[in-house]
């Protein structure tokens, strides 16, 4: 994927302006649905510009963590801090301000099927901001170009393939320039080649836009791809995906969830070297 990208605005939110500052903090978070305990005691910190990859079996609570961060679910216990705000104490109305700096990519994309690609991608700009229409349109074209779907701007979501829908969802999430992006099984159900296309977008956003991100997946292939590759912009402005340097690899951490607890936290090298039986089974 070699798309040039014009420079974007400076980061927003106080935490996001400071390198390696915590942007998301989970502290002893618990959540249960009736008798089903999904999260027992989960604690982790995401620093600005860094990436966390959350792995785990189906039903282990990975997507639940993302929904707690965006305020779609409320934790039963513990504290959750996003960009300095204790979101577990905020009302739905107060969460709207926090969500201004959060972009979420849902499983299957969750595109609005009665709106065109343009209206989907620009939804927040058109409906929830005072941005002039022509400026919003320019931004929509810019982000669609970034994900390589500039020609699809007037199509309906039903006319897109699965991979294209995920990429439009990424464009929608990044259109309003959030400093934190959350990916919920962004490549699940896609063929390997299409998955790599989506992974490349994740890498580009991480490395070129310096957004902090949490990637939830059970696809090990995609998790390792994101952790071991990086995006670089050449002198001619073209972007290429190359093998990550050792320092870059260390900026991406893995979290393994099991039975509502974190059983592993470390980078790709630590994950490969781990002798923990559950991890070995998961990785095999």
């Amino acid at each position: 994927m070699t798309n040039a990208l014009t420079p974007l605005n400076t980061p927003t939110g106080p935490a996001a302006q400071v390198p390696d500052h915590p942007v998301i903090e989970f502290d002893h978070v618990q959540l249960a649905f009736d008798e089903n305990v999904v999260l027992k005691d989960v604690s982790f910190t995401l620093l600005s510009g860094r990436t966390k990859i959350i792995l785990g079996a189906s039903g282990s609570g990975k997507s639940t963590i993302l929904k707690i961060i965006t305020g779609l679910l409320r934790a039963d216990g513990g504290s959750v801090t996003v960009n300095g705000h204790r979101i577990d104490r905020l009302s739905e109305w107060e969460m709207m301000a926090v969500r201004a700096d959060l972009g979420m990519i849902f499983q299957e994309g969750a595109l609005f099927d009665s709106l065109t690609v343009r209206e989907n991608v620009g939804y927040k700009l058109f409906e929830e901001s005072n941005m002039p229409l022509d400026e919003a349109d320019r931004r929509v074209e810019e982000v669609l170009g970034f994900v390589g779907l500039g020609d699809f701007i007037d199509r309906m979501p039903s006319a897109l393939s699965g991979g294209q829908r995920r990429r439009v969802a990424i464009a929608r999430a990044m259109a309003f320039k959030p400093r934190i992006l959350l990916y919920d099984e962004a490549t699940t159900g896609l063929d390997p080649i299409t998955a790599i296309t989506v992974n490349d977008e994740i890498i580009k956003l991480r490395d070129l836009e310096e957004v902090a991100s949490i990637v939830v997946t059970h696809q090990l292939r995609d998790a390792f791809y994101v952790a071991t590759h990086m995006a670089v912009r050449g002198a001619d402005g073209k972007v290429t995906i190359v093998d990550a340097t050792h320092d870059k690899e260390e900026e991406t951490e893995f979290i393994m969830l099991r039975d509502g607890l974190i059983v592993f936290e470390g980078d790709a090298t630590d994950l490969r070297k781990s002798s923990e039986p559950y991890l070995q089974t998961f990785l095999s």
Partner: protein, 256 residues
Amino acid sequence: MAFTDNWLKRIALEVQEYVRLIVAFFRATVSPPFYRYDIIEQFDAIGVASLTVVLLTGFFTGAVLALQSGQTLDQFGARPVVGRLVSASMVKELGPVLTGLMLTGRIGSGIAAELGSMMVTDQINALRALGTDPIRKLVVPRMLAGIFMAPVLTVISDFVGIFGGWIVARFQLQVASGLYWSSITQGLYMDDVWMGLLKPFILGFVIVSIACHVGLQTTGGTQGVGKSTTNAVVAGSVAVIAVDYFVTRILFSVLY
């Protein structure tokens, strides 16, 4: 015992969530942001687009009313007053109720299916994540359209029903047109007109609020959407009939 316990808990939860939706609706109508384009769009989708079914329903209801009542009135030599019976029945009762039942089938099912589909495909969560309150964006426009377009459609249905009754009275019952149209107004009192105008506001509110509630509670994929659609129509239809009875009783004591 456990079955009864669970059943009662489910009912209590349904009532709780419905009341929360209604409170959120009223709060959203008096505080910004307002999604004006969506409101206009829903007035068109619910009001204008329902005209055909309301016209047909009203016409044939008035026609069959004249047909049936003409036969009965003949036994008392009172066929010429068929107009009074048609107008009073249409304006006070049949217009609001049958229009409500048609709207339940047409828009209630559509709203439940649309919102239900959005629920099971995470579009509602996507709206919230993008900073939009789904109640303001989706529920308020539909409820305002239902509340204000139901009376308009009912009035149209009443007129068309009375016209349908005239067709039958004139050409089948051989009642003179002048006699028919003059008896229309003789049978109507202002209180009847008020009753016929106030009921549709309440019925419109009930139909759309139930459809929105059922839609937003949908789970279980496409099967769940199908169930929600059915539930919205069944619950809405029963509610129209039941609410009509209670509202009529209240209006009787207030107006008459």
